[in-house]
């Protein structure tokens, strides 16, 4: 008999416990083979069993050594609840269950701060679920028919001028443009958000880009996809499909060596440039790609050795918004001959309105979009303390930015795009529609795309292993063995099906309020059952 050691790690200290039914198990080994965390192992257990081998019951008690599946009691190998073992088990002999009594947060900091991927697990409140589309066309005006009428579901990406600033001259009853205006692309009001090759596996990234091209070419939905910080294959840079892509530049400038070299051979312009200042999941914390995920092809695209890649929290050399506008915006605009809109993405913050005001008042009129990313956004890797304890909800911040523009008569001049939690409950159309009524021109989504590819992570601490290189679904890993788990075509199809449904749902939301084009800023269409939300967002309180 061994003495108990209090400090030993036990299964009960871990967030997930494996429930195993030895009587159902055939020891096929599938669960052990599939577990990317090595959280379970096959071993021999010395058991006292009662057996009967005769034709008649002749129970005999025996001490036997039998093979079993056993959970590993280790922080490094802690089960993340991904459920792959249960998925592959032919006999439902094994599953992971949440352990509410775990001591994981106390024990897992032995090698420094806890790092993980995913999204905040503490701030999953849902303002949008308390908001209802409540101004329905009844008698005063007719609702439209979502199947029969035409709807214009497009959003601007690019700097819009005030009407009086347009270089229009009236001659013989016709207006003609006499000068250049900043480039503006009218795109679908939902952007596939910036997830890099590196954070995502090549297959996952390819599935998202395949879905993008399919939606454009087969369904005429001008959905745009943002590359994420980390570049993209040269083949794509030099193909016609580049027009569906928004290139991202972040503080690490990863991938831009290749992008710049490819520019002379680009057949078309990209859809836009997105300067990433920060992201909602880990604001002020910079990018992070753990060495485990810096595979050879990632090294090649980014031009880096195998090492943990940290993008700095700031763009080096930029100390103010004014500088950002003058240096980055101008140089990126100039790089593409002022033909490609350049937008900026910031983490939602108490300071967002100040940033937006500065951009609105910039004399160059050069910022083509303000992307606000809320705390419920996702990431491939971050310190848990950032994920759970820093950030800002996006809904009220988006509204504040819109109303700040309204106050100055500048609404619509720099399109507002909001993300970070859009589609958190799987209902992206409703979320997008409500954000648009509150003043967004469009929304951007990321997590929901990888969930459509098969990601099983959630905001209740499930999986979130994106940072480890051991993603069980082959989405957030560069391990060739794991990547093969992802079926590119099936993944792309899931995304396409979802977006087509979303497009129908957008019509289903526009039709009853009698709108055939997007109700940007139409806050009167919304009501809420929460008085505090009504006061904050300036919408009607109902009960």
């Amino acid at each position: 008999m061994e003495t108990v050691r209090t400090q030993d790690i036990s299964i009960n200290d871990l967030k997930w416990k494996i429930e195993y039914y030895a009587d159902r198990c055939t020891m096929c080994g599938s669960c052990v083979a599939t577990c990317t965390k090595n959280a379970i192992e096959a071993c021999i257990s010395h058991r006292s069993v009662t057996v009967s081998n005769a034709h008649q019951p002749e129970p005999v008690k025996e001490h036997k050594a039998i093979p079993v599946i056993k959970q590993v009691a280790s922080i490094a190998n802690a089960c993340v609840g991904c459920g792959m073992c249960e998925k592959v088990c032919p006999n439902r002999a094994i599953k992971a269950v949440r352990n509410i009594d775990n001591r994981f947060n106390l024990l897992a900091r032995d090698h420094g701060p806890i790092k993980r991927g995913g999204r905040t697990n503490l701030n999953a409140q849902r303002t949008l679920d308390s908001v209802i589309v409540g101004r329905i066309s009844q008698m005063t005006d007719p609702a439209l028919d979502s199947e029969r009428h035409t709807f214009d579901i497009r959003a601007p990406f690019g700097r819009v001028l005030l009407p009086g600033e347009l270089p229009l001259v009236s001659e013989n009853g016709q207006l003609t443009l006499t000068g250049k205006t900043p480039p503006v692309n009218w795109i679908y009001p939902l952007i596939f958000s910036d997830m890099s090759i590196g954070a995502l596996s090549t297959r996952a990234w390819e599935a998202v880009s395949l879905a993008t091209a399919y939606l454009n070419e087969k369904h005429n939905l001008p959905v745009r996809m943002c590359s994420g910080e980390g570049g993209m294959p040269v083949k794509l840079l030099e193909s016609e499909k580049l027009k569906y892509m928004i290139l991202q530049i972040a503080s690490g400038h990863f991938g831009w060596n290749r992008i710049i070299k490819a520019m002379p051979r680009m057949k078309v312009d990209p859809a836009g440039i997105l300067i990433k200042i920060g992201q909602g999941a880990k604001p002020g914390d910079g990018g992070l790609l753990p060495a485990a995920k810096v595979a050879e092809h990632v090294q090649a695209i980014r031009g880096v050795p195998k090492a943990t890649l940290s993008s700095p929290p700031n763009h080096q050399g930029l100390y103010s918004i004014e500088e950002s506008v003058q240096k980055m915006h101008l140089s990126l605009n100039a790089a593409f001959g002022f033909r490609v809109p350049v937008a900026i993405k910031c983490a939602a913050s108490a300071t967002s309105v100040s940033v937006y005001n500065n951009l609105l008042r910039d004399p160059y009129k050069i910022c083509g979009g303000f992307f606000i990313d809320g705390i419920q956004g996702g990431t491939g890797a971050a310190n848990e303390v950032s994920l759970d304890h820093t950030g800002h909800p996006v809904v009220s911040k988006l509204r504040e930015c819109y109303l700040a523009a309204v106050k100055q008569g500048l609404q619509g001049q720099i399109p507002l795009w909001a993300g970070g939690g859009v589609g958190l409950t799987g209902n992206a159309a409703a979320d997008a529609f409500k954000m648009i009524c509150l003043g967004a021109n469009g929304v951007f989504v990321g997590k929901i795309l990888i969930q459509l590819l098969g990601c099983i992570g959630n905001e209740n601490g499930r999986c979130n292993a994106c940072s480890t290189g051991k993603c069980p679904t082959g989405i957030c890993t560069q391990d060739p063995r794991l990547v093969k788990r992802l079926d590119i075509d099936k993944g792309a199809q899931n995304i396409v099906d979802y977006i087509l449904a979303l497009d129908s749902e957008m019509r289903k939301l526009m039709a009853p309020i009698g709108n055939s084009s997007l109700p940007v800023g139409r806050s009167d269409a919304l009501v809420t059952t929460d008085k505090a939300i009504a006061d904050k967002l300036g919408i009607q309180y109902v009960c």
Binding site: T140, D141, P142, P156, L177
Partner: protein, 368 residues
């Protein structure tokens, strides 16, 4: 739903004709009020066509406040017409004590000013009077502009007409252009200012329908011009955008339709002027209107126009003869006042069309 109507004629027309245009349509307009704007005036106003005419409904104290303001701002009263009402019992009208229609001469210091400066003065004066009357709750000022008379009242239009003796054509009150409707703002509070037609700096507009982009229109218009005030009705958005596009931006009339009901993206993409249409849609996206509606408007030139929403969810018909052309929500209105017109020439504009009737009664019909 409202019913709206207008008459444009080569010979001066009496308001009773406008009433006859509207009364057959009463199932739609519910007889809750009467409002009209008369332009190109004859009768008692013939001599003062170039002098600003103030249209006012007020209390005695309100009249005094207006007089004090006008005196202190050096406006010189030239003429005045105060209707002598028929106060027979039983009339359905919530009348104000006084209705004043008064011509002024411009202040002396404006003798050398440009027409544009005078137009700004007239707007500022109307806004100032409105503020004074609103603060004291002593009355309403509807228009202050040469050759434009506005009357708005709550009640049954037939009784309102009896009250103001509009059934009797004495030749004193006639005009070549009348735009009218017979309903109060039944969706919201009954406020006299909410009753169309609305007027601003030579632009007059009447709307039948709903503008479901009221909030975003209003939020944007508030910052565009000091004259864009009130917003008691979602129909005011139409006139402010008309004024903004034509007077402030100085764009040709066809671009008004492109602003309020832009072509679908796919359709605009096929056009030669797609770049112009695109920048207009971008920059004026917050002035787009949605919902079912038809408008009738009169421009400073005297041209009368009508157009509909992008789905043609509200009716309108244009018809007439060599002397008179009328626009009406329903054809029964035209039949009442122009029974002998050639009905085969009636125009039922579609969702992309604009009809313009000029002072020679030439009718232009074009698609946006």
């Amino acid at each position: 739903m409202c019913r709206i109507g207008s008459i444009k004629s080569k010979v001066p027309v009496h308001p009773s004709k406008a009433l006859h245009l509207m009364l057959p349509q009463q199932e739609g307009h519910d007889n809750s009020g009467f409002a009209m704007v008369m332009q190109d005036l004859y009768g008692v106003f013939t001599e003062y066509k170039d002098k600003p005419l103030l249209s006012l409904a007020c209390t005695q104290r309100g009249a005094q406040l207006v007089e004090d303001y006008m005196d202190s701002h050096n406006f010189v009263q030239l003429a005045e017409w105060i209707p002598k009402p028929n106060k027979q019992p039983g009339l359905d009208i919530k009348a104000m004590p006084y209705y004043i229609f008064r011509n002024y001469d411009y202040p002396e210091q404006y003798n050398d000013k440009t027409q544009e400066e005078r137009e700004e003065l007239m707007l500022d004066t109307r806004l100032a009077l409105r503020k004074i009357l609103e603060e004291t709750n002593e009355g309403y000022v509807y228009s202050f502009w040469p050759d434009v008379l506005t009357l708005k009242e709550i009640g049954d239009p037939r009784d309102i007409a009896t009250y103001f003796r509009l059934w009797d054509d004495s030749g004193m009150l006639v005009a070549k252009s009348i735009i009218t409707q017979c309903r109060q703002n039944t969706n919201y509070d009954i406020v006299r200012y909410a009753a169309h037609p609305f007027f601003i700096q030579g632009y007059t507009l009447c709307a039948n329908g709903e503008n479901t982009f009221y909030t975003k229109n209003m939020e944007y218009q508030k910052s565009l011009h000091r004259g864009y005030t009130g917003f008691e009705s979602d129909s005011q958005n139409f006139i402010y955008t008309l004024h903004y596009v034509l007077r402030q931006l100085k764009w040709p009339i066809q671009y008004y339709k492109h602003v309020i009901t832009p072509l679908p993206f796919a359709e605009a993409e096929q056009r030669e002027d797609k770049k112009v249409l695109s920048v207009i849609r971008q920059s004026l996206g917050h002035l787009e209107i949605n919902g079912p509606n038809t408008i009738i408007a009169v421009l400073p030139s005297g041209d009368m126009i009508t157009c509909c929403d992008s789905k043609k969810l509200r009716p309108v018909v244009v018809g007439g003869d060599d002397t008179t052309i009328a626009i009406s929500s329903e054809v029964c209105g035209l039949n009442a006042i122009l029974p002998n017109r050639d009905m085969s020439k009636d125009i039922y504009p579609n969702e992309r069309e604009v009809i313009v009737i000029n002072n020679d009664l030439e009718v232009q019909r074009w698609k946006q």
